[in-house]
Protein backbone atom coordinates (compact mmCIF):
# COMPACT_ATOMS: atom_id res chain seq x y z
CA UNK A 1 0.00 0.00 0.00
CA UNK A 2 1.34 3.35 -1.03
CA UNK A 3 1.95 6.01 1.61
CA UNK A 4 2.22 8.78 -0.93
CA UNK A 5 0.04 11.79 -0.26
CA UNK A 6 -2.96 12.37 -2.45
CA UNK A 7 -3.23 16.01 -3.57
CA UNK A 8 -6.13 17.83 -5.25
CA UNK A 9 -7.18 21.34 -6.27
CA UNK A 10 -10.59 22.64 -7.27
CA UNK A 11 -12.22 25.94 -8.16
CA UNK A 12 -15.67 27.18 -7.23
CA UNK A 13 -16.84 30.79 -7.62
CA UNK A 14 -13.54 32.46 -8.48
CA UNK A 15 -11.72 33.83 -11.52
CA UNK A 16 -9.14 30.97 -11.75
CA UNK A 17 -6.44 33.51 -10.90
CA UNK A 18 -5.32 31.46 -7.90
CA UNK A 19 -4.79 28.47 -10.16
CA UNK A 20 -2.82 30.67 -12.56
CA UNK A 21 -0.61 31.61 -9.60
CA UNK A 22 -0.38 27.89 -8.80
CA UNK A 23 0.98 27.35 -12.33
CA UNK A 24 3.46 30.16 -11.67
CA UNK A 25 5.24 27.82 -9.25
CA UNK A 26 7.26 26.85 -12.35
CA UNK A 27 9.87 24.22 -11.51
CA UNK A 28 8.10 23.43 -8.22
CA UNK A 29 5.34 21.95 -10.36
CA UNK A 30 7.83 19.24 -11.24
CA UNK A 31 8.68 18.64 -7.59
CA UNK A 32 5.04 18.25 -6.65
CA UNK A 33 4.43 14.92 -8.46
CA UNK A 34 7.60 13.63 -6.82
CA UNK A 35 6.03 14.27 -3.41
CA UNK A 36 2.39 13.42 -4.06
CA UNK A 37 -0.12 11.96 -6.47
CA UNK A 38 -2.24 14.69 -8.03
CA UNK A 39 -5.62 12.97 -8.03
CA UNK A 40 -7.94 15.79 -9.06
CA UNK A 41 -7.63 19.31 -10.48
CA UNK A 42 -9.30 21.52 -13.09
CA UNK A 43 -5.92 21.35 -14.81
CA UNK A 44 -6.30 17.63 -15.48
CA UNK A 45 -8.85 15.31 -17.05
CA UNK A 46 -10.64 13.68 -14.13
CA UNK A 47 -14.44 13.74 -14.05
CA UNK A 48 -15.36 13.01 -10.45
CA UNK A 49 -13.77 14.07 -7.20
CA UNK A 50 -12.04 11.00 -5.71
CA UNK A 51 -12.24 9.72 -2.16
CA UNK A 52 -9.40 9.72 0.38
CA UNK A 53 -7.65 12.92 -0.57
CA UNK A 54 -4.99 14.18 1.85
CA UNK A 55 -4.79 17.84 0.82
CA UNK A 56 -7.22 19.83 -1.28
CA UNK A 57 -6.84 23.50 -2.23
CA UNK A 58 -10.25 25.08 -2.85
CA UNK A 59 -10.29 28.30 -4.88
CA UNK A 60 -13.29 30.63 -5.04
CA UNK A 61 -16.32 31.52 -2.93
CA UNK A 62 -19.42 29.37 -2.55
CA UNK A 63 -21.56 31.07 -5.18
CA UNK A 64 -24.00 28.51 -6.60
CA UNK A 65 -25.85 25.42 -5.42
CA UNK A 66 -23.43 23.32 -7.42
CA UNK A 67 -20.47 24.99 -5.63
CA UNK A 68 -22.02 24.03 -2.33
CA UNK A 69 -22.58 20.38 -3.33
CA UNK A 70 -19.03 20.20 -4.61
CA UNK A 71 -17.56 21.78 -1.47
CA UNK A 72 -19.44 19.34 0.77
CA UNK A 73 -18.16 16.37 -1.15
CA UNK A 74 -14.61 17.77 -1.08
CA UNK A 75 -14.89 18.19 2.67
CA UNK A 76 -16.10 14.65 3.11
CA UNK A 77 -13.24 13.21 1.09
CA UNK A 78 -10.33 15.37 2.25
CA UNK A 79 -8.19 15.27 5.37
CA UNK A 80 -6.87 18.85 5.00
CA UNK A 81 -8.99 21.46 3.27
CA UNK A 82 -7.23 24.71 2.38
CA UNK A 83 -9.18 27.91 1.63
CA UNK A 84 -7.19 28.99 -1.40
CA UNK A 85 -7.21 32.73 -2.12
CA UNK A 86 -9.28 35.72 -1.00
CA UNK A 87 -12.58 34.55 -2.53
CA UNK A 88 -12.42 31.27 -0.61
CA UNK A 89 -11.20 32.99 2.55
CA UNK A 90 -13.33 36.14 2.54
CA UNK A 91 -15.75 36.17 -0.40
CA UNK A 92 -13.75 38.96 -2.03
CA UNK A 93 -14.83 40.05 -5.55
CA UNK A 94 -17.26 37.15 -5.91
CA UNK A 95 -19.14 38.34 -2.84
CA UNK A 96 -19.40 41.97 -4.04
CA UNK A 97 -22.73 40.98 -5.58
CA UNK A 98 -24.11 40.44 -2.05
CA UNK A 99 -24.58 44.17 -1.44
CA UNK A 100 -27.11 44.52 -4.25
CA UNK A 101 -28.78 41.12 -4.00
CA UNK A 102 -29.09 38.15 -6.33
CA UNK A 103 -31.63 39.67 -8.72
CA UNK A 104 -29.55 42.76 -9.40
CA UNK A 105 -26.47 40.59 -9.98
CA UNK A 106 -28.28 38.47 -12.58
CA UNK A 107 -29.70 41.52 -14.27
CA UNK A 108 -26.34 43.23 -14.54
CA UNK A 109 -24.85 40.05 -15.99
CA UNK A 110 -27.64 38.89 -18.29
CA UNK A 111 -29.82 41.97 -18.83
CA UNK A 112 -33.49 41.21 -19.41
CA UNK A 113 -32.76 37.46 -19.34
CA UNK A 114 -31.61 37.78 -15.73
CA UNK A 115 -35.13 37.62 -14.32
CA UNK A 116 -35.85 34.32 -16.06
CA UNK A 117 -32.57 32.83 -14.86
CA UNK A 118 -33.32 33.84 -11.29
CA UNK A 119 -36.58 31.92 -11.01
CA UNK A 120 -36.53 29.02 -13.49
CA UNK A 121 -35.90 25.56 -12.09
CA UNK A 122 -35.53 24.15 -15.59
CA UNK A 123 -32.70 26.38 -16.78
CA UNK A 124 -29.36 24.70 -17.43
CA UNK A 125 -27.22 27.07 -15.33
CA UNK A 126 -26.43 26.32 -11.68
CA UNK A 127 -28.70 28.37 -9.43
CA UNK A 128 -27.03 31.26 -7.61
CA UNK A 129 -27.25 31.08 -3.84
CA UNK A 130 -28.76 34.12 -2.12
CA UNK A 131 -25.22 35.19 -1.16
CA UNK A 132 -21.69 34.31 -2.20
CA UNK A 133 -19.84 33.22 0.95
CA UNK A 134 -16.41 32.15 2.16
CA UNK A 135 -15.95 28.39 2.51
CA UNK A 136 -15.82 28.36 6.29
CA UNK A 137 -19.42 29.53 6.49
CA UNK A 138 -20.45 26.07 5.25
CA UNK A 139 -17.71 23.60 6.15
CA UNK A 140 -14.77 23.32 8.53
CA UNK A 141 -11.62 24.73 6.94
CA UNK A 142 -8.21 23.53 8.12
CA UNK A 143 -5.92 26.16 6.64
CA UNK A 144 -6.42 29.64 5.22
CA UNK A 145 -4.27 30.93 2.37
CA UNK A 146 -5.40 34.48 1.54
CA UNK A 147 -4.22 36.62 -1.36
CA UNK A 148 -5.70 37.76 -4.66
CA UNK A 149 -4.01 35.66 -5.81
CA UNK A 150 -1.62 34.21 -3.21
CA UNK A 151 1.94 34.35 -4.56
CA UNK A 152 3.42 31.22 -6.10
CA UNK A 153 6.06 31.12 -3.33
CA UNK A 154 3.39 31.21 -0.65
CA UNK A 155 1.35 28.47 -2.34
CA UNK A 156 4.43 26.28 -2.51
CA UNK A 157 5.28 27.03 1.12
CA UNK A 158 1.83 25.85 2.26
CA UNK A 159 1.74 22.79 0.01
CA UNK A 160 5.28 21.77 0.94
CA UNK A 161 4.61 22.08 4.68
CA UNK A 162 1.43 20.04 4.45
CA UNK A 163 3.05 17.35 2.31
CA UNK A 164 5.74 17.00 4.95
CA UNK A 165 3.16 16.81 7.78
CA UNK A 166 4.13 20.22 9.12
CA UNK A 167 1.74 23.03 10.02
CA UNK A 168 2.05 26.03 7.68
CA UNK A 169 2.06 29.26 9.69
CA UNK A 170 1.16 32.51 7.96
CA UNK A 171 2.79 35.17 10.12
CA UNK A 172 3.13 38.88 9.51
CA UNK A 173 5.70 38.38 6.74
CA UNK A 174 3.57 35.89 4.83
CA UNK A 175 0.03 37.21 5.24
CA UNK A 176 -1.27 39.27 2.31
CA UNK A 177 -4.77 40.18 1.23
CA UNK A 178 -5.59 41.54 -2.19
Amino acid sequence: MSTRKRFATIWLGGCTGCHMSFLDMDEKLLELPALADIVYSPLMDVKTFPREVDICLVEGAVNTESDLRMLRSVRESSVSLVSFGDCAVAGNITAMRNTGGKKAALQSGFGSMGEALAVGDDNPLPQLLAQASPLHQYVAVDYFLPGCPPSAELIWYVINELLHDRQPVLDREKLRYG
Binding site: N92, Y177, G178
Partner: protein, 236 residues
Protein backbone atom coordinates in the same frame (compact mmCIF):
# COMPACT_ATOMS: atom_id res chain seq x y z
CA UNK B 1 6.88 72.22 37.40
CA UNK B 2 4.66 69.45 36.29
CA UNK B 3 4.03 66.54 38.62
CA UNK B 4 5.44 63.16 37.85
CA UNK B 5 3.58 59.87 38.12
CA UNK B 6 5.33 56.54 38.53
CA UNK B 7 3.75 53.44 37.07
CA UNK B 8 4.57 50.00 35.69
CA UNK B 9 3.95 48.96 32.09
CA UNK B 10 4.72 45.35 31.18
CA UNK B 11 6.86 45.02 34.31
CA UNK B 12 8.91 48.10 33.51
CA UNK B 13 9.02 51.00 35.98
CA UNK B 14 8.10 54.15 34.12
CA UNK B 15 7.61 57.77 35.02
CA UNK B 16 5.37 60.12 33.09
CA UNK B 17 4.03 63.64 33.65
CA UNK B 18 0.62 63.82 35.32
CA UNK B 19 -2.07 64.09 32.67
CA UNK B 20 -0.18 61.98 30.15
CA UNK B 21 -2.04 59.03 28.68
CA UNK B 22 -0.96 55.43 29.13
CA UNK B 23 -0.31 55.37 25.38
CA UNK B 24 2.03 58.40 25.59
CA UNK B 25 3.90 56.88 28.51
CA UNK B 26 4.26 53.50 26.77
CA UNK B 27 5.51 55.02 23.52
CA UNK B 28 7.92 57.26 25.37
CA UNK B 29 9.53 54.07 26.68
CA UNK B 30 9.48 52.17 23.41
CA UNK B 31 6.54 49.93 24.28
CA UNK B 32 4.40 49.48 21.18
CA UNK B 33 0.63 49.50 21.61
CA UNK B 34 -1.32 49.17 18.34
CA UNK B 35 -3.66 52.05 17.47
CA UNK B 36 -6.00 52.92 14.63
CA UNK B 37 -8.13 55.96 15.46
CA UNK B 38 -5.26 57.65 17.34
CA UNK B 39 -3.01 59.95 15.38
CA UNK B 40 -0.28 62.15 16.82
CA UNK B 41 -1.48 65.73 16.51
CA UNK B 42 -5.21 64.98 16.82
CA UNK B 43 -7.36 64.71 19.92
CA UNK B 44 -8.16 61.20 21.14
CA UNK B 45 -11.62 59.66 21.17
CA UNK B 46 -11.03 56.00 22.04
CA UNK B 47 -13.19 54.98 19.11
CA UNK B 48 -11.43 51.90 17.72
CA UNK B 49 -10.53 50.09 21.00
CA UNK B 50 -7.41 48.55 19.49
CA UNK B 51 -5.18 50.08 22.18
CA UNK B 52 -7.00 48.25 24.99
CA UNK B 53 -4.73 47.44 27.94
CA UNK B 54 -5.16 45.62 31.26
CA UNK B 55 -4.92 47.74 34.38
CA UNK B 56 -4.49 45.90 37.67
CA UNK B 57 -7.46 46.26 39.98
CA UNK B 58 -9.81 46.93 37.08
CA UNK B 59 -11.53 43.98 35.47
CA UNK B 60 -12.37 45.91 32.31
CA UNK B 61 -9.91 46.55 29.54
CA UNK B 62 -9.17 50.27 29.12
CA UNK B 63 -8.21 52.18 25.95
CA UNK B 64 -4.63 53.41 26.47
CA UNK B 65 -5.14 56.53 24.33
CA UNK B 66 -7.71 58.09 26.67
CA UNK B 67 -6.63 56.61 30.02
CA UNK B 68 -4.48 58.96 32.12
CA UNK B 69 -1.49 57.66 34.03
CA UNK B 70 -1.90 57.30 37.78
CA UNK B 71 0.54 56.79 40.62
CA UNK B 72 1.32 53.09 41.23
CA UNK B 73 -0.70 52.03 38.19
CA UNK B 74 0.18 48.55 36.89
CA UNK B 75 -0.47 48.18 33.15
CA UNK B 76 -0.13 45.21 30.82
CA UNK B 77 -0.11 46.03 27.12
CA UNK B 78 -0.25 42.45 25.92
CA UNK B 79 -1.83 39.22 27.17
CA UNK B 80 -3.80 36.35 25.64
CA UNK B 81 -6.98 38.15 26.61
CA UNK B 82 -5.92 41.43 24.98
CA UNK B 83 -4.70 39.64 21.85
CA UNK B 84 -8.01 37.82 21.62
CA UNK B 85 -9.97 41.06 21.71
CA UNK B 86 -7.65 42.91 19.32
CA UNK B 87 -8.10 40.24 16.68
CA UNK B 88 -11.85 40.18 17.31
CA UNK B 89 -12.07 43.97 16.88
CA UNK B 90 -10.22 43.78 13.57
CA UNK B 91 -12.38 40.93 12.33
CA UNK B 92 -15.50 42.89 13.23
CA UNK B 93 -14.20 45.94 11.35
CA UNK B 94 -13.63 43.81 8.25
CA UNK B 95 -17.04 42.13 8.58
CA UNK B 96 -18.90 45.39 9.07
CA UNK B 97 -17.80 47.22 5.89
CA UNK B 98 -16.92 46.16 2.37
CA UNK B 99 -13.16 45.80 2.59
CA UNK B 100 -12.31 44.18 -0.72
CA UNK B 101 -8.54 44.63 -0.69
CA UNK B 102 -8.15 43.32 -4.25
CA UNK B 103 -9.99 46.33 -5.68
CA UNK B 104 -8.93 49.00 -3.16
CA UNK B 105 -6.68 51.95 -4.08
CA UNK B 106 -4.63 51.70 -0.90
CA UNK B 107 -4.06 47.94 -1.00
CA UNK B 108 -0.58 47.47 0.45
CA UNK B 109 -0.56 50.91 2.13
CA UNK B 110 -3.45 50.38 4.50
CA UNK B 111 -3.35 50.73 8.30
CA UNK B 112 -6.27 48.33 8.71
CA UNK B 113 -4.55 45.66 6.61
CA UNK B 114 -1.27 46.17 8.49
CA UNK B 115 -2.88 45.70 11.88
CA UNK B 116 -4.70 42.59 10.68
CA UNK B 117 -1.37 41.12 9.50
CA UNK B 118 0.10 41.96 12.93
CA UNK B 119 -2.49 39.87 14.76
CA UNK B 120 -2.25 37.07 12.18
CA UNK B 121 -5.81 37.46 10.93
CA UNK B 122 -5.89 34.76 8.23
CA UNK B 123 -9.69 34.82 8.07
CA UNK B 124 -12.73 36.50 9.61
CA UNK B 125 -14.89 34.26 11.79
CA UNK B 126 -17.97 36.50 11.68
CA UNK B 127 -20.55 36.74 8.92
CA UNK B 128 -19.82 39.61 6.55
CA UNK B 129 -22.64 42.17 6.62
CA UNK B 130 -22.17 43.36 3.01
CA UNK B 131 -23.85 46.70 3.72
CA UNK B 132 -25.12 48.75 0.81
CA UNK B 133 -23.08 51.93 0.97
CA UNK B 134 -22.45 54.81 -1.40
CA UNK B 135 -19.39 56.16 -3.12
CA UNK B 136 -19.49 59.96 -3.12
CA UNK B 137 -17.45 61.22 -6.06
CA UNK B 138 -19.21 64.57 -6.38
CA UNK B 139 -16.12 66.50 -5.25
CA UNK B 140 -13.88 67.84 -8.03
CA UNK B 141 -10.74 66.16 -6.76
CA UNK B 142 -11.60 63.72 -3.99
CA UNK B 143 -13.67 60.59 -3.48
CA UNK B 144 -15.35 59.38 -0.30
CA UNK B 145 -15.98 55.64 -0.50
CA UNK B 146 -18.22 54.72 2.43
CA UNK B 147 -17.63 51.01 1.77
CA UNK B 148 -14.13 51.20 3.25
CA UNK B 149 -14.95 53.51 6.17
CA UNK B 150 -14.33 52.21 9.70
CA UNK B 151 -15.59 55.41 11.39
CA UNK B 152 -12.29 56.19 13.14
CA UNK B 153 -13.18 59.87 12.63
CA UNK B 154 -9.59 60.88 11.91
CA UNK B 155 -10.91 62.88 8.93
CA UNK B 156 -13.57 64.54 11.08
CA UNK B 157 -10.98 65.58 13.65
CA UNK B 158 -8.35 66.83 11.19
CA UNK B 159 -11.01 68.86 9.37
CA UNK B 160 -12.09 70.44 12.65
CA UNK B 161 -8.89 70.66 14.69
CA UNK B 162 -6.24 71.38 12.05
CA UNK B 163 -7.99 72.86 9.03
CA UNK B 164 -10.79 74.48 11.05
CA UNK B 165 -13.34 73.92 8.29
CA UNK B 166 -15.62 71.49 10.16
CA UNK B 167 -16.96 70.12 6.90
CA UNK B 168 -16.95 66.46 7.89
CA UNK B 169 -18.92 64.89 10.70
CA UNK B 170 -20.58 61.64 11.67
CA UNK B 171 -24.34 61.19 11.33
CA UNK B 172 -26.52 58.29 12.41
CA UNK B 173 -25.99 55.73 15.14
CA UNK B 174 -24.17 52.47 15.62
CA UNK B 175 -23.67 50.36 12.54
CA UNK B 176 -25.69 52.86 10.47
CA UNK B 177 -23.31 55.75 11.23
CA UNK B 178 -21.64 57.40 8.30
CA UNK B 179 -19.41 60.33 7.44
CA UNK B 180 -21.33 63.36 6.17
CA UNK B 181 -20.21 66.66 4.71
CA UNK B 182 -21.94 69.84 5.89
CA UNK B 183 -25.65 69.08 6.42
CA UNK B 184 -25.65 65.69 4.70
CA UNK B 185 -24.96 67.25 1.33
CA UNK B 186 -22.93 65.66 -1.44
CA UNK B 187 -19.29 66.46 -0.76
CA UNK B 188 -19.04 68.45 -3.97
CA UNK B 189 -21.82 70.73 -2.74
CA UNK B 190 -20.41 71.22 0.77
CA UNK B 191 -19.52 74.92 0.74
CA UNK B 192 -17.38 74.81 3.89
CA UNK B 193 -14.87 72.38 2.33
CA UNK B 194 -11.61 74.14 1.48
CA UNK B 195 -10.39 71.19 -0.63
CA UNK B 196 -7.24 71.10 1.52
CA UNK B 197 -7.02 67.30 1.29
CA UNK B 198 -5.88 66.73 4.89
CA UNK B 199 -8.66 64.18 5.40
CA UNK B 200 -7.18 62.07 2.60
CA UNK B 201 -3.76 62.10 4.23
CA UNK B 202 -5.01 60.86 7.59
CA UNK B 203 -7.50 58.21 6.39
CA UNK B 204 -6.21 54.80 7.54
CA UNK B 205 -8.11 52.88 4.83
CA UNK B 206 -9.09 53.44 1.21
CA UNK B 207 -12.17 55.42 2.19
CA UNK B 208 -10.79 58.81 1.15
CA UNK B 209 -8.62 59.19 -1.93
CA UNK B 210 -7.74 61.50 -4.75
CA UNK B 211 -9.37 61.09 -8.14
CA UNK B 212 -7.11 59.60 -10.78
CA UNK B 213 -4.87 58.14 -8.11
CA UNK B 214 -2.94 55.12 -9.26
CA UNK B 215 -2.65 52.27 -6.84
CA UNK B 216 1.14 52.60 -6.84
CA UNK B 217 0.93 56.25 -5.71
CA UNK B 218 -1.41 55.57 -2.86
CA UNK B 219 1.02 55.62 0.08
CA UNK B 220 -0.22 57.69 3.01
CA UNK B 221 1.62 60.64 4.50
CA UNK B 222 -0.03 61.06 7.89
CA UNK B 223 3.33 62.22 9.32
CA UNK B 224 2.64 65.69 7.94
CA UNK B 225 0.44 66.26 10.99
CA UNK B 226 3.25 66.18 13.52
CA UNK B 227 5.08 68.82 11.49
CA UNK B 228 2.00 71.02 11.21
CA UNK B 229 1.19 70.79 14.89
CA UNK B 230 4.77 71.70 15.82
CA UNK B 231 4.73 74.71 13.54
CA UNK B 232 1.40 75.89 14.95
CA UNK B 233 2.64 75.52 18.52
CA UNK B 234 5.76 77.53 17.76
CA UNK B 235 3.69 80.34 16.23
CA UNK B 236 1.58 80.53 19.37
Amino acid sequence: MSEIRTLTIDGEMISAPAGATVLDAAREHGIRIPTLCHLDGLSDTGACRLCLVEIEGNNRLQPACVTRVEEQMVVRSSSPRIEKYRRMILELLFAEGNHVCAVCVVNGHCDLQDLAYDVGMDHVRFDYLHPQREVDSSHDRFVLDHNRCILCARCVRVCDEIEGAQTLDIAGRGVASWIVSDLEERWGEARSCTSCGKCLLVCPTGSLFEKGLRHADSSRKADFLRYMVNVTRRQK
